[in-house]
């Protein structure tokens, strides 16, 4: 469905040029003391947020950049980062 995303290099582009890279789950967990459950959490598990979520995208058919952005899953629109996230996104 119609989606416009802002690539940090190429600017606003059609959503079908991008590949969705999953919910943002923070940094990859350290190898040391890593349990199968924690790894599974990082690899497979999702919160399936109904509303605004931070997520990874890759500009697959463009410059190839990986970046995070915020999107409202109930409206399918890219949105500004929430206040708390300002400067971190």
């Amino acid at each position: 469905m119609a989606l416009t995303l802002t690539c940090p290099v190429c600017g606003k582009r059609n959503g079908y040029e991008f590949r969705y890279g999953g919910e943002d789950k923070g940094p990859r967990p350290a190898e040391e003391g890593l349990t199968p459950r924690a790894w599974c959490d990082y690899v497979h598990m999702n919160t399936c947020t109904v509303g605004i979520q931070k997520e990874w995208w890759c500009h697959r058919d463009g410059c190839g950049a990986w970046f995070t952005t915020f999107r409202d899953t109930t409206k399918n629109l890219e949105v500004k980062p929430p206040e708390a996230e300002n400067g971190q996104a």
Binding site: M1, A2, L3, G15, Y16, R19, Y20, G22, E23, P36, R37, W39, C40, D41, H44, M45, N46, T47, C48, T49, V50, R71, T73, T74, K75, N76
Partner: protein, 407 residues
């Protein structure tokens, strides 16, 4: 829908303050589980909570295709039983589900795909499901409208032919099961949103709804695309699910030209002719999570291009309606059915992706057994949630090229 007239399945019931079991989601899985709980297990004090109206979600949005030619040993017996149950349920519910076992034809567009089909067919035959490999000429004999020439984008090499599959009228299943539920004493509460799931000491104690609190020792979460969000936001339990929008559409009605369900993985396109004459066709999913059911020109164009390639007689035919629904996809294309872990009395039946309709009859039967006895039936054991942390994913997708939300 909510008018003054009495619904088909009986009068509106008062929401009680306690039930023996509460089912979140008035879709086919919830209705079927409630029906079997009441009918087979004598657990009649059951409430179904539905935020909108029964059949609002996937139950009324799927393309009504049923089949049992899945890929893995664990999945095939479950879908076979679901397929075998349609005629049984038609009689039992005394409601015409319009099961049309016209057969499924799964087109193969390369020698590699033919080879993969051989293995899937061997699995089906091992489990007593009729399925065989046919070549392009045989496919053409079954479906004369098929374009088997070599100058299309994906020339047809052959097909996986599965005669017992076909089409079931999905709305009829909703109405029939609702009628069956009501007959056995189940309360169907429409326009009643579950707002919280309560537990104490590791046990389920109740459900909060927009219309008040219900005490209950058992809850089944079977809310289709909304299940994963419910599990996380109400209980903090994360599931390996991505919720994607899948679109389907129908053409204007035509004279009979297609008497099989025909699908193609390479074209990402499947089609069948409904009893009204429309060609019902669906595409792949939009590849990012979404709770909207928006439609796009992108898929109308995609369907038109694909259909005019392999069913060229449809060139120039107009699409009449298009709609979208939610598919809750798991990484291994197999569902999550689990219970009593990590909370006693909490049951989940989700992650069906686009297989929820064809499985609902058998799953309702087994989830009901699970909820009534507290013990997981053999049939459902492979589908537990912990398979992901044990790295025992099922192989419903033959070769995972990319780890994406839609596989």
């Amino acid at each position: 829908m909510f008018g003054k007239r009495k619904p088909l399945w009986g009068t509106k019931k008062r929401l009680k303050s306690s039930y023996d079991a509460v089912i979140i989601g008035g879709g086919l899985h919830g209705l079927a589980a409630a029906y079997y709980l009441a009918k087979e297990h004598g657990l009649t004090d059951v409430a179904i909570l539905e935020k909108r109206y029964i059949g609002f979600g996937g139950a009324g949005r799927n393309t009504a295709i049923v089949r049992a030619n899945q890929r893995t040993q664990e999945n095939v017996p479950l879908y076979k039983e679901a397929l075998d149950l349609w005629p049984v349920l038609t009689k039992e519910l005394n409601f015409n589900l319009m099961f049309n076992n016209c057969g499924n034809l799964n087109l193969m567009h390369s020698e590699a795909a033919m080879k993969a089909a051989r293995m899937t067919i061997a699995t089906a035959q091992f489990h007593g499901v009729e399925s065989h490999l046919i070549d392009a000429k045989e496919a053409k004999a079954l479906v004369p409208a098929l374009n088997i020439s070599e100058d299309i984008t994906f020339p047809i090499h052959g097909a996986m032919y599965h005669p017992p599959g076909g089409i079931v009228r999905h709305d009829a299943v909703v109405w029939g099961l609702a009628k069956g539920c009501a007959k056995h004493g189940v309360h169907i509460h429409q326009q009643t949103e579950a707002t919280g799931i309560l537990s104490a000491g590791g046990r389920i104690t109740g459900v909060d709804t927009a219309r008040g609190r219900i005490q209950t020792p058992r809850v089944l979460v079977s809310a289709g695309g909304y299940s994963a969000g419910i599990m996380y936001h109400m209980l903090g339990i994360k599931l390996p699910i991505s919720v994607l929008t899948i679109q389907a559409m129908v053409t204007q009605p035509l004279k009979p030209i297609l008497d099989h369900v025909v699908s193609s993985g390479a074209y990402h396109c499947y089609a069948n002719q409904t009893l009204k004459g429309e060609i019902a066709t669906g595409a792949h999913m939009d590849p990012w999570p979404n709770y909207t059911t928006q439609n796009t020109a992108h898929y109308i164009k995609h369907q038109a291009e694909a259909l005019s390639d392999w069913l060229p007689c449809l060139r120039g035919v107009k699409f009449m309606r298009i709609w979208g629904g939610l598919a809750d996809m798991t990484p291994d294309m197999a569902p999550v059915m689990d219970g009593n872990d990590p909370i006693d009395g909490l049951y989940m039946d989700c992650g069906w992706g686009y297989f929820g309709f064809k499985s609902c009859s058998a799953v309702g039967k087994y989830m009901a057994e699970y909820m009534a006895t507290g013990n997981c039936p053999e049939m459902l054991k492979p589908f537990h949630l912990r398979r992901y942390e044990n790295h025992r994913l099922m192989g419903e997708t033959a070769a995972l090229v990319n780890y994406t939300p839609d596989n």
